[in-house]
């Protein structure tokens, strides 16, 4: 039985051109937690996300997922455990029809043909996109593309859902649908986002990253109420939190 835990221990990473992107990142995300990963552009969020799917490996330090270290020989297991929704759905959708795209991951997992239809349609229904099944992805709207991309990942039944800027390019209604949808998921969720209102609604915990380091890690409400911390990390108090009294909650 796996425990759907993500554990980072002092991860450092430098790109080949020696830009240091991660400078000692540590955290532990437990089973079923929803965690927002926030930070300014270039803070290291995307670099960190790439570690979760084993597209990058730490220069030093260790990343454990489901109890196993993320390294080359564990990649198939890691990629089965982690479902990654990319920032740009156009990078993710590439099969000729939505149905085939959602089926892509399942076929790679070796799901038998008899089960395929049911699992694909179940995933599409979850995101409210069953009617798109035979449409070519490049003809869909941004919101529909996002839904199809999420279905493609959900179909694989990952333990941990990782999303990169899931609300970018979404209209308010699609964004609202996504929030409602995410709230129904029992997965461990890690969501990198600049949409702090969205983070506030979907994640009870927030990790702030600034210049490759974790500068804060705690309940979302507390972190978003700490204006000094937010300013220092090039962030801004979310709109929906503006009405809060200053230091309504004690920050740690």
């Amino acid at each position: 039985m796996s425990h759907h835990i993500v554990e980072a221990a002092n991860i450092h990473y430098s790109y080949p051109d020696s830009t240091a992107a991660l400078d000692g990142v540590s955290f532990r995300i437990g089973h079923g937690e929803s965690v927002a990963l926030v930070g300014e552009n270039g803070a290291g969020k995307s670099t960190l996300l790439r570690h979760f799917t084993g597209c990058l490996f730490p220069s030093s330090g260790m990343l454990k997922i489901d109890g196993g270290v993320v390294e080359k020989k564990n990649l198939p297991a890691v990629r089965r455990a982690v479902g990654m929704v990319f920032q740009n759905p156009d990078d993710q959708l590439f099969m000729p029809t939505v149905f085939e795209d959602v089926a892509f991951g399942l076929l790679n997992m070796g799901v038998p043909a008899a089960e395929l239809d049911g699992r694909v349609m179940a995933a599409l229904q979850t995101v409210g996109a069953a009617h798109l099944r035979s449409r070519p992805p490049y003809r869909l709207s941004q919101g529909e593309k996002r839904a199809a991309a999420i279905a493609g990942v959900l179909a694989m039944a990952p333990d941990i859902l990782v999303m990169d800027e899931p609300t970018s390019n979404l209209d308010p209604m699609s964004r609202r649908r996504l929030i409602t949808l995410l709230k129904t998921f029992g997965h461990t969720k890690i969501i990198a986002t600049h949409d702090l209102d969205f983070a506030l609604e979907t994640c009870e915990r927030t990790i702030v990253i600034h210049k490759g380091r974790v500068t804060a890690d705690g309940p979302t409400v507390e972190i978003f109420n700490d204006e000094r911390l937010l300013t220092a990390s090039s962030l801004e108090k979310p709109m929906s939190a503006r009405a809060w009294p200053q230091n309504r909650l004690k920050t740690s």
Binding site: C55, R79, N108, A113
Partner: protein
């Protein structure tokens, strides 16, 4: 939509066509691949002045398009799109090969013109057959079929990604040319220096994008195989398709039917 964007959607239309459900669509891709390969070999194996013997081969692409309910106009337009290449190959033949080869009444037709016609006809045959194959099968199934026929994996994966990245390349190009046009103050054309800059930049951006696409595929367990939902089975229908066409191609290749037909008709008239 810009011209480029429109033609991009047009390429994607091939995939939409491939999702059809006629018996030809359901045929195992290997049968279609091998038959089309044989067809192409038969067509290109004729001598350079051959025209009449090539005509019966038109049956194959016409059959594929008709049986597979493919839009003939669309396919023909795609053939025209690449035709400048064939024209370039043959256009100088009439100048270099002036010997009279054929007499129609008092009019002499030079060997150059005959070989040019032959090149165009072969081009029409092979390209339309290949396009029909693509529209009936889809690139993913073709690649899987190639793999099962024993084609080297490195080659097949290259082909797969060539198709996949074509879309990202076109999308990037469209964005960049539009961005340039909007800031070019109504000037048309592009300075050479700017063109070089854009080209270099385009390459880097496309590489970046290709990497993201590849990462997204890896994240969903891609291992060099594109698995398709359609089953693969060489059955009676596949064998029938393959052998009937092979027999016909052999007949067309070794017996010049139009000439025979012409002789028979003139024989009757005598």
């Amino acid at each position: 939509m810009s011209e480029l964007g429109a033609s991009l959607v047009d390429i994607g239309y091939m995939d939409t066509l491939a999702a059809g459900s006629t018996p030809l669509h359901r045929l195992d891709p290997r049968a279609k691949l091998l038959t089309t390969a044989l067809f192409i070999v038969a067509v290109v194996s004729f001598g350079k002045y051959e025209v009449s013997a090539l005509l019966p081969f038109l049956l194959y692409p016409v059959y594929l398009a008709a049986e597979g309910r493919l839009p003939a106009r669309y396919l023909f337009k795609k053939v025209l799109l690449v035709s400048p290449f064939a024209v370039m190959v043959g256009i100088f033949n009439p100048f270099f090969d002036g010997g009279v080869l054929l007499r129609v009444g008092h009019l002499g037709v030079s060997g150059g013109w005959v070989s040019f016609a032959s090149i165009l006809l072969r081009f029409l045959l092979t390209v339309s057959a290949a396009l029909a194959l693509l529209a009936l099968t889809g690139i993913n199934s073709i690649c899987e079929g190639l793999l099962r026929l024993g084609a080297p994996r490195a080659f097949v994966v290259q082909l797969l990604f060539l198709n996949r990245y074509l879309f990202s390349l076109a999308a990037e190009t469209e964005n960049m040319t539009r961005a340039r046009a909007l800031r070019s103050a109504g000037k048309r054309g592009m300075r050479f220096g700017v063109f070089i800059q854009i080209l270099g930049h385009l390459l880097l951006k496309t590489l970046d994008r290709a990497e993201r696409v590849y990462r997204a595929m890896l994240a969903r367990g891609f291992d060099g195989h594109i698995r398709v939902t359609r089953g693969y089975k060489i059955g009676r229908r596949e064998l029938l398709f393959f052998f009937c066409w092979t027999a016909l191609f052999a007949l067309f290749r070794f017996v010049n039917l139009p000439v025979m037909l012409g002789q028979a008709v003139t024989g009757l008239l005598k």
